[in-house]
Amino acid sequence: MSRRPLRTGGYHLVAGGISVLWLLPIALVLVTSVRSFDDVAANGVGSLPHSFTLGNFGQAWVDGGEFQAMVNSLIVTIPAVIITLALGAISAFALSRYDLPFRRTVLLVMLAGNLLPPQILLVPVSKMAEMLGIYDSLTALIGVQIGFGLGFYTFVLYGFMRAIPNEIQQAAVIDGASPMQIFWRIILPLTRPALASLSALAFTWVFNDLLWSITVIRSDTKMPITSALLGLQGQYVSQWNVIAAGSVIAAIPTVTVFLRFQRHFVAGLALGAVK
């Protein structure tokens, strides 16, 4: 009888401890974001706060150029997510529902692109963008994000669509539905949970990307939020308080999207688990 409370207590202690460890860095960022620079410089980033100011948020937003950067990020992220998912859904539909020749090869080639470390593609990508005349434009960044996202999204949606019973499609064919109608009116509605969770994931990935943005973009006015945050770090000296405030602002869109899609997100995590 006495073992149960002990076990429950132990569970809460361990789980609570892990949660605290997990939340500590986030708490540190939140605390740092309201400290003054002199306080951080004199007492260190890790110390208890000796000051309180909300000015850092204004400084990050206005002087740090975060407003423009946030707009840029959304201009890139929203079309990139919509186009990638649309293309991914179409290709996954074709590959999973029809017996196309070499479909496994096509799928593997698409996936193989994702297995390459992106670092080796940095120079080719920036040179190609320059040759196409789109270097230093948001179009280039959208293009790169679509290109690199497509393989993975197709792969995930392929797995999901393949699990839809064949009978549903056969019934539609008997009723005289064209492939376009089958896709639009049967498969796509059934894929909605997968699409919802993937779009939340894709939004986070594209929004938080730094590597591609600094590869294809050169002007500070076109930089998305991640590189604007990096820009708050000086050559020698970084204002950690302003950077922390900027990070808090930069996290708002992804947190919002996550909360909005939370239900699908958790359901989506089990996507690949059961076939």
């Binding site: 007492n43 600094i214 590189s227 020698y236 970084s238």
Partner: protein
Amino acid sequence: MTSTGSSVSSGSATGPVTVQSNLSAPSAKAAMQALIDGFNKKGASQSTLNTVASETFRTQLPTYLTSSNPPDVMTWYAGSVARSYADKGLLLDVSDAWNGVSGYSDALKQLSTDNGKQIFIPTSYYFWGLFYRKSNFAKWGVQAPTTWAEFLQVCETIKSKGVTPIGLGADNSTPWVASGWFDYLNIRINGANYHRELLAGKHSFADPQVHKVFDQWKTALPHFDPKGTALSFQDATTNLLQGRTGMMLIGTFLLDTTPKEDVDDIDFFRFPVIDPAVPLAEEAPTDGFFASAHTARKPQTLEFLKYLTTVEAQEAYLKSSSGSSLPANSAAKDAGTALITKGKQMLQKAPDLTQFFNRDSSDALQPTADNALIKFIQHPEQIDSILTDWQTAAKKIWTS
């Protein structure tokens, strides 16, 4: 505020001069904007500023220079590092901008010259030294040392007070800080010429002369902060300000991360003399600008660079910046604080000036030094293998 540089999309030869800057700290960025505004107000040509994060700039600089539509003017460092780009044909010959320039020393012109042509416009420089808090030195009853023996004595005294004598901030975000120690020890023991030749690949890092540098370093190593390779330079500065460490070998940019009320308490002393027979050269890293060889706006670019050499431009920059550097034009006024004046005099008396490890070699050689020096600080007993490894890594870069 953010609409400062929509720059590079058009290839026309008539648009404003595009200036790509790595000075992303707020005060330095504001100072750059003041500089640009000053030029634009003159009305002849126009310029736009484009600031990118210094980390991004460092990795993207080769891309900027080899781009078919490059920024016209870029911030960077004088010395071998600029020459290494010039030798690849990437930099504009800016001799015209140097013509008739006053207030510049011959040494600075020499520093900006590659194969008889000027390829660089220096605008400011700063100095390195062992920085400390005056109040702490007074409390511990120590005086700024001038020789190595006195220096070790000061370390002993500080240690006896329960304080780590020598701070260091050489974690993976600022590993190059450790090169300051290597540079100075080598300059004091083997002289500035040997140092430059070594960095240019004319000697081996496995030479007995280099061993001597590390033997000397070993005598001070027990006084180093054991956590020094796990701290950034900024955190190490906090330790110094808090009195947890006694002193730190660093550049004047430490003032940029010092709260205003503490700045007056900061002082420095010259790196101690080791061999009195070796002339006392100092490190004086010089910052400035170079231009791309592929610029489509050559006359305007030269006009802009010429403007950068003027007293007016350099004072406009210094007035808006944190004032921890010295203007390259000797006629321009500096911040004028006791510390800056002391440093300026130290450099003026120095028979020879070096830049800094990366600037006297190349951006590619710096990581080999970072690896070797951090490993030495952590495992000084492995110095033989560290130096042979360093030589192997450096050789690959010199021969590539």
